[in-house]
Subunit: 285 residues, 6 copies
């Protein structure tokens, strides 16, 4: 069973609204290689696990637990980027009267302004809904681990590409944190294959990014987040049988199992009367 403390796994850094950035960030939430996929893929792989080598099941489930918190972090980041973006006082929106269509909305996913009240959705950057056929639980452990390596490597790759699309601080901080954590999960799955005899040479990290290009990443590297596996279990776990010793990354370092971050406040979002959200004002009078 799953227990919750109302804390985000990372901070939401304030900045201006940016609905075009919110649109592309949806890839990280509901895309083929986004956090919903990683969350559901590891959930199915851990529930469907066979055999007694449960240190692997503990690893799969451990990463699954963190991915739920990642989904929540990206939902909150998208919401922060959308908050206030549709108001006529927002930058670039010189009033809708007479204009063909609100400028903010023109470059946004229109569903952000139609389906919810300027809020996150289970879709990708092109507006396609998340699809269960993307989740793979092969049954064969090596197949599962290789697939997860592809998933985490693509996670870093796409996040570094998306990072370049906006200099918005809310946007970049979340991406930077997730780049480092994907890196950590890449190391974890690579290490699991190392215990089965693979020697990776200089292959990882994939992609082989220059940390200086993503300055927000540095503090997380300094905290060792690229080599630590957070432990969200309230009972014992065998995860340290895999996560220990030297990292399989060319960047080296020692792999450790640690407590999760201290936790950051979950934002309380303002009402949007114009969007009828939450729309209770007259109900309770």
């Amino acid at each position: 069973m799953y227990y919750y403390k109302e804390e985000l796994i990372n901070q939401i850094v304030p900045d201006q609204p940016d609905p075009a950035a919110a649109k592309v960030l949806q890839e990280i939430l509901g895309g083929h290689f986004g956090e919903m996929r990683t969350m559901m893929q590891y959930f199915f792989q851990s529930s469907n696990f066979r055999g007694k080598e449960t240190q692997f099941r503990d690893l799969l489930r451990g990463v699954f637990l963190e991915e739920i918190a990642h989904v929540e972090l990206v939902q909150n980041t998208i919401n922060q980027l959308l908050n206030g973006s549709g108001e006529s006082s927002a930058p670039g929106n010189a009033g809708v009267d007479g204009a063909p269509l609100n400028d903010a909305i023109k470059h946004a996913n229109p569903h952000h302004f139609i389906i919810g009240a300027q809020a996150s959705l289970p879709v990708d950057a092109a507006g396609n809904p998340w699809n269960g056929s993307w989740v793979y639980s092969h049954g064969n452990l090596i197949g599962d681990l290789l697939d997860n390596l592809v998933l985490e490597s693509t996670g870093v790759l796409q996040k570094t590409r998306i990072y370049e699309m906006s200099s918005n601080k809310t946007f970049r901080e979340t991406l930077a944190f997730l780049i480092v954590r994907d890196n950590s999960h890449q190391n974890a799955f690579a290490k699991a294959l190392e215990t089965l005899g693979v020697q990776w040479g200089k292959l990882f990290p994939v992609p082989n990014y220059d940390i200086n290009k993503y300055p927000e990443c540095k503090k997380y590297i300094d905290m060792g987040y690229h080599n630590s596996t957070f432990n969200f279990r309230l009972d014992p776990t065998r995860i340290a049988e895999i996560i220990n010793g030297t990292s399989p990354s060319r960047n080296g370092g020692t792999m450790t199992v640690t407590d999760p971050p201290a936790g950051f406040p979950v934002p309380l979002m303002p009402e949007m009367p114009n969007e009828h959200s939450p729309g209770l004002s007259d109900m309770q009078s």
Copy 2:
């Protein structure tokens, strides 16, 4: 953030393998009104919540937390129904040689035997993958609560229909537990609308089922599971501001916030060398 204790929210009652039952049970996992939908819908609704009336956000998030455990319960139930079903020693499978196709597989979802090693999938009873367009987070709280009422009512409705399809005990026990819990969530969302002024009369439960038709349900009713809301929070919650007093159901009773069930062991599934699962034997020699 999300914490985990390796315990199922209900028991897995042992019985014979039954892949045809596993196929229809997929509706409860990955169908339009299944547990993956309820889990993701309440996740988005709670993360996207606006305004200060956070007792509603706590309610949405609280039910979300239980739904993660429901997904895990249904995954494990499907796995139990599939375990051993493809073996030539399984009932009705008199060896595959010379036969057109293994009989067990003929009435199964073939993906249960191809994609994973006889294991659960994110698809519905007709084999369609789970789709993100089913999740709705309207932004307007009344819209969200009414949609959730439809979701929980349909949950009970479909589970009572599926219950009739097999007398397998593994199958029926999980359905019975979930029928009662959907009933509890129906009561919770109906109660939330009652705080906004609605009087439901005799409308609930929907459907108005006869408890005697589903005998496995009775023990859960006797434990009060139809009126209790389980609390999975490790920090304070305002949920009791809504969940209290008389149930909106015609069956009456008092609504309470309680601890979750004591927890049941997560099954350790046998290896399936024939399916190459987990396929480690020679790796580690």
Copy 3:
């Protein structure tokens, strides 16, 4: 605007329940070349029509109007095939207790017994939901007419193939009626292209079926249904500018615009308390 008289366009011939036949008949309702597609395709083509040659718009809209009645006919036929099929007293269902899964359901679309109360669905014979990307309104009239010819030809082709799958009378009567009407629409669109200069030779009907193989068709041919276009307009229409003279079919005959059939009663379906349908019994006490 659209007006309605509660009458089916053809009779529902009674026979035994046959859920496996209901499953394949879904192709005719919700398949790529089924009645929902024809209905929506002609609806979009007529609303999107450009230019003054409105005799073509009247033709497109006229066939659209009949297709709504076809959708209703197939929904009712599927319902008739499902009525009573899940009951333990139905043929071949020797009680579900102890059996792995109700035999009727094994060869059915399980959604017929889960989503509705043994009722029609907007899906195809393989259980895939109807998809808007199948509808085509090209804007170019010749493109639209050629596409419609493919649609009607495939309609006949698939119906003759499905006809062979069961000798159930409910099933075959509806198929036979629709084969003849698709033939009529094929003739209508072929004739429209004839007015633009094409000479079809012996090409039509496609496929070139032997009427004796589908005996239920004969009475409709005798009534001239293969060459008549039903007129559902309450105001004038230019449709007779196209529909007149010799049929483009090798079977010959004269094309005419006629009144629709006299109409047949819409069945009143029995309650299914076991399926909680309609589930009102205690509500109104």
Copy 4:
């Protein structure tokens, strides 16, 4: 069977072309909660109805009939917004030569200019095709009515959000008419549940919008369109057994069954030789 008179249910108010507005208006046509969904959902619910309380079937079918006319109205509104928008003489299109891409098309759904000749499509505002899995016919009448309430409430909610996106008069007039009619259908389904014992208090309308924000709505309210149910039947209907007495809305008023509006001309759209639509010029010479 279905009969037709070539009249729109509401007027198309002329204004400038606005392809960006046409793109978002597609949500109302082909979106998850759009008019195609309502049309098909009530069609399946009425054809699949069980039992003798046919006043409910008459209600479901009655609203279905109006929804066909709504689909036609939105198709025509989108077409009006697109007409002329791609021409080099359209506002903001200073000739395509040398420019990267026609500006009108940049903020449009490109399919409006590729698939048809600047015409409506069965897709939503994000370009996803309409999907049959959205239609729900639960079999249980209370489930159906609650689902329909969510559908109509979301209809109003989304239309009020889309209304703010453009001040184009063609766009706003159609939205205003449909907001009031969705409100009427919300009242109708709420009333049907009232006959089963529910007291709604101040819950409706959902969302609780301020009529002054949508001035085009006022004339329709003055005509009582929010409380009237249009009757499109050519034979008797039991609909007045439900639709009578006080409205369940906090805005009060008396519910009545009335004749449909007088009817407005269906536009005759100009040819677009550049788009090869209809493309007949040389055929007939």
Copy 5:
């Protein structure tokens, strides 16, 4: 079996990057009537062919072979339009710092910049993935040929519409070549139906475009590409039994089977270190 010579079937004319043009050109690659559909449709039709009239199978397979080269041509054209488009030195991109989102990306398919390194995708102009349900292999030869005629006619129709969207030379040259080749395939399938007795009159080409509007087409017409069928077989083919004599087009001319074009170099695309493509630099040190 399939053999390859590294040559494109037509030239890639250099011009400026234009990601908005790349987005709409995706329709020609991965759309409902795009080159992936034609390629796969003729592949299935030729493999599924029945009977001894193998001149038709040879025709279907022959066009299939050319369509593989068309897919490759469009992939390379899209890549050329994307190359360098995301760089801060690209036209209109005044550096991303401080700006909400890179302008190039705003009007692009964001997946072009996220999923690959500015490269082609199997999706349409609205970002929907290619779907296997679009492919049709009816089994009935006349049905197949009519469907293919619709496919090729719509191919020309959509390409002439897309042609108007940008004056980019890379974009227009590929469209012009494909317009003429679709025309040739339209003639080929029309001719095949002519051998079965149809007289087309003045119906073709569909649409009846004015060659002067698409000046890049002229040289291909002058080379007779609209009436020639390229032969990619390394063994004998019966295709000339169909492809001979007068073209069924109103434009006349003689149909011939010829060698394919001489071939053009496949571009070697530059590395994109910023996109981690190919990302090998440090691997090999």
Copy 6:
């Protein structure tokens, strides 16, 4: 450009019709990890390749070329399994009259008997259409190679599972050939990563199957097909820069570039007049 010689890459071994086997074999054609996916994935990866290390592009394109022949082989195998299966004289089909539904069809994909004339389809074993979102071309070469390793490993894994489902010789021979070729491609991509520094230890083959369980595989192993890369190029290729030396598999051996197999006849399928295929009989009289 692509050239063709009408030869299959492997033999079609004759055996009884088996439509249930044809249904599951669709996974290998149109499934998430089937031959259509591998074909299109390597096509996009090779066309989108960046940089001068074109030995990798030659490898990707080389495997793509073989995959086209694999698609053709599986299409022909499915057709062979379906040929004659729907006839009343087929095993187990004692005439359809009076029976609810033809028994062969009950356990088949009904689309095999409706859409085509008993012929292959672009769908998976559960009837879901092939989807473009499954294809991945990451741009980053290591990402692409790892993804391809997962693809080929899953290919072997699923084929060994499907192999167990029927002892039909047509079915097993094609699976056995493809298992060995997937193994060869797994070795090729693993070798490519070896050139970048990875040491695989005993990891491959994945899964680690016992060759004696799949006796049809042995002859292909004896011919060295597990370590050879077939060369379909008519011009030079750099593929041997990667494919040489010791195999990365624990089974050892030397990797070589060889000519393709000698080629086997493409079957000429019988007419099916009952299915109107090809339906030409009266056309040409």
